[in-house]
């Protein structure tokens, strides 16, 4: 028994037929071919599937797709600008080596985005708290935390220059 849901993904309106039990991650990856969000566990533990729904980070592997009706979903694919420029958080993850194998990275960056949208200048403990639900096996988190704090600096420079946070 399929149902049709409508929501926006990275600013684009979409209409998808879904089974009621499907998690949002399945819709994003299999129906919309947005494969940036990753399935690391399927149980809401690892955070590799993190996307933002109305600005809040969620584990899309256990978030029911039906819940997305009428909401705004932001995935990692939505962070690069239309002229293919990296978002400052993405840039920061490269500059501070917050990336190793890259599997956790999309989820990690989305959690960081949710944090920095709310708290533009987080302390180390605040960053660690915000990323507690995103597992990484490569980095030991040190350079991820450095990346997020570096991103905060890059974003604040952007704000000063352009007057907006984007």
């Amino acid at each position: 028994m399929r149902r049709t849901i409508r929501f926006t993904v990275n600013g684009d309106p979409v209409e998808v037929e879904v089974q009621p039990h499907w998690p949002l991650l399945r819709v994003l990856r299999d129906e919309l071919e947005l494969t940036g969000a990753k399935m690391g566990c399927g149980e809401g533990e690892c955070g590799a599937c993190t996307v933002l729904v109305d600005g809040k980070p969620i584990n899309s592997c256990i978030y029911p797709a039906l819940e997305a009706e009428g909401k705004q979903v932001l995935t990692i694919e939505g962070l690069v600008s239309p002229d293919n420029e990296l978002h400052p958080i993405q840039q920061a993850f490269l500059e501070k080596a917050g990336v190793q194998c890259g599997f956790c990275t999309p989820g990690m960056i989305m959690s960081a985005k949710a944090l920095l949208d709310m708290n533009p200048n987080p302390t180390e403990d605040e960053v660690r708290h915000a990323l507690a639900g995103n597992f990484c096996r490569c980095t030991g988190y040190v350079q991820i935390v450095e990346s997020v704090r570096h991103a905060a600096e890059l974003l604040s420079k952007n704000t000063k220059r352009t007057g907006t946070g984007e």
């Binding site: 990753k38 590799a48 490269l94 990275t105 096996r137 490569c138 030991g140 350079q143």
Partner: protein, 792 residues
């Protein structure tokens, strides 16, 4: 000339990992692709009486149902002790009993539920010590050649003897002996295992794989194809890989099953593990029981070391059974010990079997040795750091195993720990607050575990002035895509951003042993120096042919366009001698006049001229190198110079132990590492941080709970990884002795920091609570029990 690119913290080049465009095995689809799924055993040890697959075969959407009864009886694995699908009996819960390929995941899962297997239970054994007894149930009745087996001990008698242990024991003033245990821990790559197998109409197999040993994998799959009667060969493609840590060294059983399903259906078949399957059905690091005895003279000089290891091999054999070859390195050579005896016994049980994991036996061996070092220091009444300094390895010495140490800043690393932790003030209080130290050595210049330890590389220059480095190595996240660019740029005079990397295709890439044993930077670095020198020589020769006429033409053109421009009085003949030329930043120039813009040309213009010469005498620039290092395979006695150099270091930990809960908090952590030379200090620190946290997890929280052969915690909620909230303040200290055998002075750094973390933490906890816990991990329950049992 000072180095321009090496030694600098370049940002990572793998930008598509941050955009979500990097394609992992999870993200790859092919037309007509089927989903493969595996049915695992429901028994730890049983005869398979009957398998009924009829219902599954009739399910709409199912394309193949395979069992051991309808697939060739072909043995796979390092000792050939299993088949892809099991026919006679199952020997562990992860035994692959049947497999299906279906049009989608739901159908494949439904089909598995329709398969009915009848088992006849056999007595099982889960403890390696029990399994060694004469009356223990036999896990394997026959070996790979069909010869009857009498017991469960693997035919791999690992041993190493040097000097005279008996005599040294008699001469020792202090002797300690104890037994330590470690548990199963999993690599827990964030990307789970997976592959896609497909055949073309000529019976060639294209295999998209997460392996970090593409050519070894190709060998194994080619042999498998031959053995099952398929006259084709394998091409391995590797996409972005979500971590490895040893888990992707061997060709795993699911990969052979994917090949069988793809052959049966003639469709691409993808098998992708879910997280539970990853924990329960992929081979982790095995547990050991290690007994260690050491003695020293009255001044604290080590006289002898005896280590006996028993490894729970599980039901089958993968590379886990060969980790004693690396255990030998610390057991024989960590500190100066003249008399050594080491024996390791690998025992079949009905448990899950084991593979490689970061450090390859070294974490278990160093855990055992370094705790014994603290016990002996205590016995001799010497401070643990002073005791280690007395016995520290020195440069340019040969160890009893025949390891030839080149550079060795072990003492420097120990001094770093001592100073940075303020050791003297904090050690020996037993008041809930303690410090601990552990050193390590690991292979730093490859490890000749096969007859070859070589790496192939091709450098190709195009007429846009870009260079492509085609390498047989792989990247699992360690950062080779960044440091290869830095080293190629350094070796050739190109800019890092003009270097592209092509890897992960056995059809095109030159041969390589595999990206294991912390060897990649070392091997590819040497290959870059070899091929880079050729590129430079060829380019300068090409430039000497073309530069004179191109520049002369440029000057005349400029003079025509600008009447004020006077053609300078330069001897263009100088440009026709390659020895007068050099390359920097992708430009070729006259050495004697490097600042003269009129006398320099971009590489692109010269290569284009040579390509487009129009007379049938065009030239291109391609160079190749196959670097095979001068290290040695171990001989029959387990001796030989396994690696070109060895990397050393010391970890120091300060802990606070909560006396009420047993919780261990790490207050300070110093990780001092000899890296030879840091090509990219930021990425080197990334390896140190990541491996240290992995090692700290081994010490404190990680444990696969295996109960009667079954993994009880196959998920990330119950398998306790350290998270971002577990803040461990790591002070990563890079020590750079500049290794003469290493390219640009480097040593490998992928694994080492994983090695000393657990013993350093164990030593710190023992210092804090005054009692030693002898098995991992140091969970709050064990720590609390130790505190409560103190003095009893």
């Amino acid at each position: 000339m000072a180095e321009q690119f090496v030694g600098k913290s370049f940002p990572r080049f793998d930008a598509d990992k941050v955009t979500g465009r990097a394609r992992f095995i999870n993200d790859i689809k092919a037309p007509r692709m089927l989903c493969g799924k595996i049915l695992y055993s429901k028994r730890p040890h049983a005869r398979i009486a009957h398998i009924d697959t009829s219902k599954a075969e009739k399910l709409h959407g199912v394309r193949a149902v395979l069992t051991g009864f309808n697939t060739p009886d072909v043995r796979v694995g390092f000792l050939g002790d299993q088949t892809a699908l099991k026919r006679d009996k199952v020997r562990q819960f992860r035994d692959e009993v049947a497999a299906v390929a279906a049009i989608n995941e739901e159908t494949a899962e439904e089909a598995l539920e329709l398969i009915h297997v009848e088992y006849e239970d056999l007595p099982a054994v889960f403890d390696p010590i029990e399994a060694m007894k004469e009356d223990a149930p036999l896990i394997h009745e026959v070996d790979a050649r069909g010869k009857p087996r009498r017991n469960n001990i693997l035919p791999l008698p690992w041993k190493l003897e040097a000097g005279d242990v008996q005599k040294a024991r008699a001469e020792s003033a202090f002797v300690v002996k104890d037994t330590f245990k470690t548990t199963w821990v999993h690599q827990v790559c964030m990307g789970t295992s997976g592959c896609i197998a497909e055949f073309d109409v000529n019976n060639n197999l294209q295999f998209t794989s997460v392996t970090n040993v593409p050519f070894g994998g190709k060998d194994r799959l080619d042999m498998f194809l031959r053995n099952i009667g398929i006259k084709g060969s394998t091409r391995i493609l590797t996409p972005y890989v979500g971590g490895s840590f040893g888990s992707k060294l061997d060709t795993d059983i699911y990969e052979f099953i994917a090949v069988l399903l793809a052959w049966k259906t003639k469709c691409p078949v993808k098998i992708l593990f879910d997280r539970q399957e990853e924990f329960a059905a992929s081979p982790p690091r095995q547990p050991i029981v290690g007994t260690v005895e050491q003695g020293c003279d009255k001044d604290g000089r080590l006289k002898f070391r005896v280590v006996e290891m028993i490894l729970d091999n599980g039901a089958y054999t993968s590379w886990g059974a060969t980790t004693p070859s690396v255990m030998m390195v610390p057991i024989s050579t960590l500190y100066r010990v003249p008399n050594i005896s080491f024996r390791a016994t690998c025992v079949y049980t009905n448990n899950i079997y084991a593979q490689a994991m970061r450090g390859y036996g070294n974490p278990q061996a160093t855990y055992v040795v370094e705790q014994s070092m603290d016990q002996l220091a205590l016995e001799a009444g010497i401070d643990p750091i002073e005791f280690r300094l007395i016995n520290a390895n020195e440069p340019n010495e040969t160890s009893p195993m025949g390891l030839k140490i080149t550079t060795c800043p072990m003492k420097e690393c120990l001094e770093e720990v001592k100073t940075r932790l303020d050791w003297k003030k904090k050690q020996g209080k037993h008041d809930g607050h303690g410090v601990g130290v552990a050193c390590f050595l690991h292979v730093g210049g490859g490890a000749r575990v096969y007859r070859s330890d070589a790496q192939g590389l091709i450098l190709k220059v195009d007429d846009e002035g870009k260079m492509t480095a085609i390498t047989g190595g792989t990247d699992q996240g360690q950062g080779s895509e960044t440091i290869i660019r830095q080293m190629v740029a350094e070796a050739t005079g190109f800019r890092p951003q003009d270097v592209n990397i092509f890897q992960g295709d056995t059809e095109i890439c030159p041969w390589d042993v595999g990206t294991h044993a912390s060897r990649h930077a070392f091997m590819v670095g040497h290959a870059i120096l070899m091929a880079g020198a050729q590129v430079r020589a060829k380019l300068l020769a090409m430039a000497s042919t073309w530069m004179g006429q191109l520049i002369s033409r440029n000057l005349q053109k400029k003079a025509r366009q600008d009447s004020d421009f006077k053609v300078p009085d330069v001897d263009l003949n100088l440009l026709s001698n390659p020895e007068n030329l050099d390359i920097s930043n992708g430009q070729i120039f006259l050495k004697s006049d490097p600042e003269n813009k009129l006398l320099r040309l971009p590489v692109a213009q010269i290569v284009r001229s040579a390509h487009m010469v129009g007379t049938g005498r065009g030239e291109m620039i391609v160079a190749e190198a196959f670097y095979d290092p001068p290290n040695e395979m171990l001989n029959a006695e387990g001796k030989g110079n396994l690696s070109c150099c060895y990397t050393f270091g010391a970890h120091g930990v300060e802990v606070q132990v909560d006396q009420e809960t047993g919780q261990v908090t790490i207050l300070n952590y110093v990780a001092a590492h000899d890296v030879g030379r840091a090509i990219n200090p930021m990425l080197v620190k990334g390896q140190i941080y990541g491996a240290t946290i992995m090692g700290a997890g081994y010490g404190l929280t990680e444990e696969m709970q295996v109960n009667a052969g079954r993994v009880m915690n196959p998920n990330l909620l119950d398998y306790k990884l350290l998270t971002a909230k577990d803040k461990i303040p790591i002070d990563a200290v890079i020590v750079e002795p500049i290794e003469p055998s290493g390219p640009f002075g480097l040593k490998g750094i992928g694994e080492p920091a994983c090695v000393p973390a657990a013993p350093a933490i164990a030593n710190a906890v023992a210092d804090a609570i005054g009692v030693r816990i002898k098995d991992l991990p140091l969970s709050p329950e064990k720590v609390l029990a130790a505190i409560k049992g103190k003095g009893k």
